[in-house]
Symmetry: C2
Subunit: 143 residues, 2 copies
DNA sequence: TTATGTGCAAAATATTTGCTTTCCG
DNA sequence: CGGAAAGCAAATATTTTGCACATAA
């Protein structure tokens, strides 16, 4: 049995009756190659390097599709625009208030925040979002 | 010594060379009277009840000013628009994924998340944002 | 071949800004 | 009175959508 390259992506799309296209490959690669958490404009810029005729509308639609099938994850930090990251295990984010750098933080070791919040609220909570704000090491040493 | 009603607001504004105006009173009251976390449109709607000629632009500028002087706080949840709340001690939020209800959650009892994140990242973190998502009690009993 | 996807442009949504007039202190 | 603020409309910024044409399977 031969494992197909990119098989996972095809499978996720097919499961929902969606097709794999050049644009979808290119957008997914753009997010992979961007360091971290690109917004739609950066994905668009990167995608055009490989698919010059791709439109911004397609980038938005494609990012939405890739989130729907579970390959990407949309994130809204304290900004006007959404950012996108590869879907993976739960983690938190530290965001530099000077330069905007976003660093992933392992969720391990923070205890069961969800369980505590469930007790405190009566909500059937299934997901959490944790962000920390402050200056990154580089900006700290800059002055 | 007589304590002036609304003195605190005047003081905060004056400290930055800003004036108190009818519109600023009305916008602040609108946030106070809204249950919880109104967005600019809801503030606008409420403010017009007391100041019919107020414009949406003024609402936005005023919300910004009131945040600057520390009376309000801008919040972005997983939505396109910002929401606003009265500035107060740190707390978290539980958000209903069905009806959108936003409930405040006391931050006490969650341990020193910031300290842990500082160690993990090397960032000089000074602020945290914690949100929980799931169904509120009422939506749970609805079906 | 045919359902699905893309490009393009216009629309929708949220927020900001320039400028003239009005108002607070 | 003089600087700060409001109203209004136009400008921005981000994201969504309608539709004719193109493409994957």
């Amino acid at each position: 049995v031969k494992e197909e390259v990119g098989g996972e992506e095809y499978r996720r799309l097919k499961r929902k009756g969606l097709q794999m296209t050049h644009q979808r490959k290119v957008v997914l690669d753009a997010v992979r190659e961007a360091s971290g958490h690109p917004d739609a404009q950066e994905v668009y810029r990167r995608a055009r390097a490989k698919a010059p005729s791709i439109s911004l509308g397609t980038v938005y639609r494609t990012l939405g599709v890739l989130c729907d099938v579970g390959l990407l994850r949309e994130r809204r930090f304290e900004e006007a625009q959404s950012r996108y990251e590869l879907e993976r295990e739960e983690h938190f984010h530290a965001i530099c208030t000077d330069c905007g750098l976003i660093r992933d933080v392992a969720a391990l070791g923070f205890g069961d925040l969800l369980a505590q919040a469930r007790v405190g609220t009566g909500f059937d909570l299934v997901e959490q979002k944790v962000e920390f704000y402050g200056r990154c090491p580089e900006c700290q040493s800059r002055n």
